[in-house]
């Protein structure tokens, strides 16, 4: 290896180690913080909290009880569907030890469709731009592969022999060969003991690393969710207005003799007398009519309504010999919708007529 290249590799190695150590300490502190103080890192998968927090940001949150939550806090809460949403509290009500939160993303025009009932929530303390992308990428297959390589490199540094001052044998990092392990009697005892001390250090380093890795495995198994993805979901609302539905008002027939025209019919066989009432029904559509007369002692033989050409005509015939003579009769009519007989108008008095004094005499209107 040439000196210049070797120097460059050395610097790269030193730089990697130093940067790694700084990040490593930060990660260890964060992991400890998560365990001791309920801190939880959150990776923002979407940007509805922008411009405060954008997609790909990493936030540090702190778990607090519902009673400690305040309007305006940015909180992360689990949704019913197993994901997590991080939005700002726009209003809240307390119910016992729970809080019911109405949340809205800063970039959203609408409050989240459903309120969240929580006993505790993760309040966002601070956020770091774009670090979430790094964490997300490192959690992917390529990132895992590179992490594995990086871990292997660290392990190689950890278990490598360090050069001993005063020891001429063996270059730095050169593994012990089988021959070297056999200490020839000609080598001074001082050097042999240095070798033994070196081996011991290497054994200790390897043992320590094994413990560290085992702890890492346990931490990994126990803390699957140390970095939690969170949705700061965009929402967009579109209102549709303008639909007006109005129910039909069943129009009653016109009331009063001025509106309904009364006409006297000529007598039929057996002294059957009758009157008709006609009125303009306009464009109200086809209606059914229920007719009643008062007094009820009038014996009706026909009561039919016919609507034609915008005019409705009610024909009333009665058996004159069996009905009261010279009596004023009130005609009451109620209209209804043919398809919905229960939908009726208010009953109105269509008009009155007076039966003849004799069964053979015709009735008179009014």
């Amino acid at each position: 290896m040439t000196g210049r290249l070797g120097q460059a590799v050395g610097w790269a190695r030193q730089g990697l180690l130093t940067v790694g150590a700084v990040l490593g300490v930060a990660c260890i502190l964060l992991t400890l913080g998560a365990a001791l103080f309920g801190l939880r890192p959150l990776v923002f998968e979407s940007g509805s909290m922008s411009p405060t927090i954008k997609t790909g940001d990493l936030a540090i949150s702190h778990r607090v009880d519902a009673s400690s939550l305040r309007k305006g806090d940015i909180v992360s809460v689990p949704t019913g569907t197993g994901t997590r949403v991080t939005h700002r509290i726009v209003s809240m009500t307390h119910e016992g030890s729970d809080a019911i939160l109405a949340l809205r993303g800063d970039a959203n025009t609408a409050t989240d469709a459903t309120p969240y009932r929580v006993s505790h929530a993760d309040v966002v303390l601070l956020h770091v731009p774009r670090v979430g992308y790094v964490v997300g990428w490192l959690s992917g297959p390529m990132g895992l592969f590179l992490l594995g390589l990086y871990a292997a490199f660290l392990v190689s540094v950890l278990v490598k022999r360090t050069p001993q001052s005063g020891s001429g044998a063996g270059g730095p990092g050169e593994p012990l060969s089988a021959e070297e392990r056999v200490v020839p009697p000609s080598i001074p005892a001082r050097k042999a003991s240095a070798r033994n001390a070196n081996d011991k250090a290497r054994l200790m380093a390897t043992g320590g690393l094994s413990v560290l890795l085992a702890a890492g495995f346990l931490a990994g198994a126990g803390a699957q969710s140390s970095v939690t993805p969170t949705l700061a979901a965009w929402t967009d609302q579109t209102p549709i207005t303008g639909a007006t539905l109005t129910a039909y008002t069943v129009p009653p027939p016109p009331s009063g003799t001025t509106s309904a025209v009364c006409a006297v019919l000529s007598a039929g066989s057996g002294n059957e007398q009758g009157v008709t009432y006609s009125w303009s029904s306009g464009s109200t559509g086809t209606l059914s009519y229920a007719t009643s007369v008062s007094p009820s002692t009038v014996v009706l033989t026909q009561s039919t309504t016919v609507t034609s050409g915008g005019t409705t005509t009610l024909t009333l015939k009665y058996d004159a010999p069996k009905s009261p003579k010279g009596t004023q009769v009130t005609v009451t009519v109620q209209s209804s919708v043919p398809s919905a007989p229960t939908w009726t108008s208010t009953p109105v008095t269509l008009g009155k007529f007076t039966t003849g004094a004799q069964p053979s005499s015709a009735p008179t209107c009014g």
């Binding site: 997609t55 609408a110 594995g148 660290l154 699957q224 949705l231 549709i240 919905a340 229960t342």
Partner: protein, 198 residues
């Protein structure tokens, strides 16, 4: 004191110390699933970033103020009205949309029935217009009053640029009370899109 600082400096400068500290990164990131990935006992779900925005448009607009397809003046029991709406994701990220209905006053609307299908056209004409097909999953059956009622409660996914047409049918049951005569309700539908696809 100085020698203490110096020895601390020497320890920190030591490659092994730094290497050991560096393992913290592996541990912390690894905790999200690295080790599970290596042992293949738990699938790595990964983190999906949703960049971009969503823009829910109905009939090509961000708000529709003159939707008159459902208008009816003389509604009697048995009548049905129907109208279609085209929902589009005009944004750059996938979204799911749902819809609710409100109305005021709610006397009439409270007695009406509603259904939503995927039909792209209305069958027949008012006052007996209907929507073909079966009701969409999570379709509501009643209209909301002051409090919103779900119209489409099961989110429907639309990818960027995609659109679909739905058909809303409102009817008055045959047994609607006669006291509803002359009542009127203005109905508002609110469509909400979200980038939360869960």
């Amino acid at each position: 004191m100085t020698s203490n600082l110096a020895s601390v400096g020497r320890v920190l400068a030591n490659a092994r110390t730094r290497a050991a500290l560096s393992l913290g990164v592996v541990m912390a990131v690894g905790a999200t699933g690295t080790f599970a990935y290596w042992t293949d006992s738990v699938p790595v779900t990964g983190t999906t970033f949703t960049a971009g925005t969503i823009d829910l448009q109905v009939n090509g607009a961000d708000s529709v103020s003159g939707y008159t397809s459902l208008n009816i003046n003389n509604m009697v029991p048995g009548n049905t009205v129907a109208g279609t709406l085209t929902i589009k994701n005009n944004g750059t990220a996938p979204m799911k949309y749902s819809a609710t209905s409100t109305s005021a006053p709610a006397v009439l609307s409270g007695a009406l029935t509603v259904t939503v299908t995927g039909a792209s056209t209305v069958t027949g004409a008012s006052p007996s217009a209907t929507c073909g097909g079966t009701a969409l999953p999570g379709a509501g059956s009643t209209l909301g009053g002051a409090t919103a009622a779900p119209l489409i409660s099961t989110g429907r996914q639309l990818n960027p640029g995609a659109s679909e047409t739905i058909c809303i049918q409102v009817g008055m049951p045959a047994n609607a009370a006669s006291s509803l005569q002359g009542a009127s309700s203005a109905v508002t539908f609110t469509f909400t899109g979200t980038s939360d696809l869960s």
